[in-house]
């Protein structure tokens, strides 16, 4: 390329012309232009000289292995910790394995309460009412209350508890009203009701069979009681409903029938008139007035006055409905 043979021959390179050209062609760039170009050249290499570039590239080279080692170490430690957690969790494997079975069974009968149930951490906010139960029930029951089986039973647990309470109250009232030697057939508490049995087989506190015992009867009942104590307004309503339920258990017939059939029962001494019974009787004010009239006629003015007070409190325009005799009896009452 740049060999001497490539040089222009003498016929193309005239020495005279070359000499004359060299003599006349002496123009040079302006000094300012020289300075500008040289400054630009120095700036170009000054901004990114090779040595500086090598220095700039050196730090990533030395810290990259350290960074990679640190990342690998962190990952390894994490894996080791995860593995150790797995070993610890696998050790009590049989107990937790039963809980999902209970969950899967759903509507199937709950396992026996005497069966040891391994404590299983439940989501804290999943069952708020059972958190209330946890604060009142003992530890074993609390663990049972934490079982997921209760999640399915929880919505129906309150009626179950009310039913159980109602049965206990009915039993107590039966013991008070009926003679101990001749218990009323309708107030038989020990006889489990076939209709109520499937609804709340586990919540039957007086059930004689341990196998029919619920998974967490105490927990549910305690939760219900706790709920009743924590909500006074609701407790009154629930108490009234429970009283009515007790009365219904004691007299399963309908309210009018009870009112009409109460004439026969009026001959027997009875317990104090309850608000629940009054609510039930208030469904038919006329029948209730007839019942009160019969009490008054039978000379049982105390009971008649008590029911009149309830009648006055529960029935709208009660005074206008009352016969004059009963109204005067009520007005005379203290």
């Amino acid at each position: 390329m740049a060999n001497e043979s490539d040089r222009p021959r003498d016929d193309t390179r005239d020495p005279t012309l070359a000499a004359g050209w060299r003599t006349q062609s002496r123009e040079m760039p302006p000094p300012a232009l020289d300075a500008a170009i040289l400054a630009a050249a120095h700036r170009a290499v000054g901004s990114a000289p090779r040595a500086a570039t090598a220095e700039a590239l050196r730090p990533p080279r030395w810290w990259l292995p350290f960074a990679a080692a640190a990342v690998i170490g962190v990952v390894a430690v994490g894996l080791v910790q995860l593995a150790s957690h797995d070993v610890i969790d696998v050790a009590p494997a049989p107990a937790p394995m039963r809980v999902p079975e209970a969950v899967n069974e759903g509507a199937s009968p709950a396992p026996d309460a005497t069966m040891p149930v391994a404590p299983m951490p439940a989501p804290p906010a999943a069952t708020p009412p059972q958190d209330l139960a946890q604060s009142t029930v003992p530890a074993p029951q609390r663990s049972a209350a934490r079982t997921p089986t209760l999640d399915h039973a929880a919505p129906a647990s309150t009626p179950v508890a009310v039913e159980a309470e109602r049965r206990r109250e009915a039993e107590r009232r039966t013991a008070e009203v009926a003679p101990p030697t001749t218990p009323a057939p309708a107030a038989e508490p020990a006889a489990p009701s076939p209709a109520a049995k499937p609804a709340a087989p586990a919540a039957e506190p007086a059930a004689p069979s341990p196998a029919a015992k619920p998974a967490a009867p105490a927990g549910v009942a305690a939760a219900t009681r706790e709920h009743a104590t924590t909500a006074p307004g609701a407790a009154k309503l629930e108490s009234a409903q429970a009283q009515g339920a007790r009365d219904r258990a004691a007299a399963p017939a309908s309210a009018p029938a009870a009112a009409s059939g109460a004439a026969g029962a009026l001959t027997q001494p009875r317990a104090a008139f309850s608000r629940a019974e009054a609510i039930e009787l208030a469904r038919d004010p006329d029948a209730w007035l007839a019942r009160i009239g019969k009490l008054h006629d039978a000379g049982r003015d105390d009971e008649a006055i008590a029911e009149l007070h309830e009648f006055d409190a529960l029935v709208p325009a009660a005074r206008e409905r009352m016969p004059i005799a009963l109204r005067r009896l009520l007005e005379r009452a203290p």
């Binding site: 390329m1 740049a2 060999n3 490539d6 040089r7 222009p8 016929d11 193309t12 390179r13 005239d14 005279t16 012309l17 070359a18 004359g20 050209w21 003599t23 006349q24 062609s25 002496r26 123009e27 040079m28 760039p29 302006p30 232009l33 020289d34 500008a36 170009i37 040289l38 630009a40 050249a41 120095h42 170009a44 290499v45 000054g46 990114a48 000289p49 090779r50 040595a51 500086a52």
Partner: protein, 206 residues
């Protein structure tokens, strides 16, 4: 300035004083190498551009662009050819761009140099008023006549002449810079020399 030689396809840049070694040193960050390179070639490149443009302002602008381009692409410089070939290639391309921008697009491979126009230009140079006897004695007269005669040359011949006389390029290097064949370059140089001799002949005769 000692020219490098080809060794296995690449130039032997063992000498630290060669243009190629200086350019490599500058690409490596040695700013002083560029100073030396610039001092060696600034005049030739400037006159190459000035003779073509015939305007100092435009020549300054093009000259600065050529060197800035050399600075910018220094990292990609490879000594596969002489540095002057590379440098004048940059200058030639910048000149072509300038001509295209200003409407002078005549640098497209005109090999028919021996046309009537060229002959007329040469004859007009000989018949120039500057060839008067009273001005031949003046030393400056030579430069003026040369400049005028060079300006009257076709751009391709002028380009080849300037690359040879200002850049010191060989026929092959001129062919490489201009993208023409070696014989074409030789023809252009022959015609250019002949015309310029004709311009100088009155001075020689006196």
């Amino acid at each position: 300035m000692r020219g490098p030689t080809l060794a296995g396809g690449t130039l032997d840049t063992a000498t630290d004083d060669s243009d190629e070694a200086l350019m490599l040193a500058y690409a490596a960050g040695d700013a002083a190498s560029f100073d030396r390179l610039y001092a060696r070639h600034k005049g030739g490149v400037y006159r190459y551009l000035l003779r073509h443009c015939r305007d100092a302002g435009i020549a300054d602008e093009l000259f600065q662009d050529v060197w800035m381009n050399a600075i910018r692409v220094r990292a990609s410089y490879a000594p596969t050819a002489r540095f002057t070939t590379w440098l004048y290639t940059l200058a030639h391309h910048r000149l072509v761009d300038h001509w295209r921008a200003t409407g002078h697009a005549r640098l497209v491979s005109i090999d028919d140099d021996d046309d009537g126009d060229t002959r007329a230009i040469v004859e007009s140079i000989a018949a120039s008023p500057l060839a008067e006897p009273e001005t031949r004695a003046a030393a400056a007269e030579l430069g003026v006549r040369l400049t005028r005669a060079l300006a009257a040359l076709p751009p391709e011949q002028r380009d080849a002449f300037l690359l040879q006389y200002e850049g010191g390029l060989s026929l092959a290097e001129i062919a490489r810079v201009t993208g023409a064949g070696t014989e074409t370059v030789k023809s252009r140089l022959r015609y250019a020399t002949t015309k310029l001799r004709s311009a100088l002949r009155p001075l020689r005769d006196t």
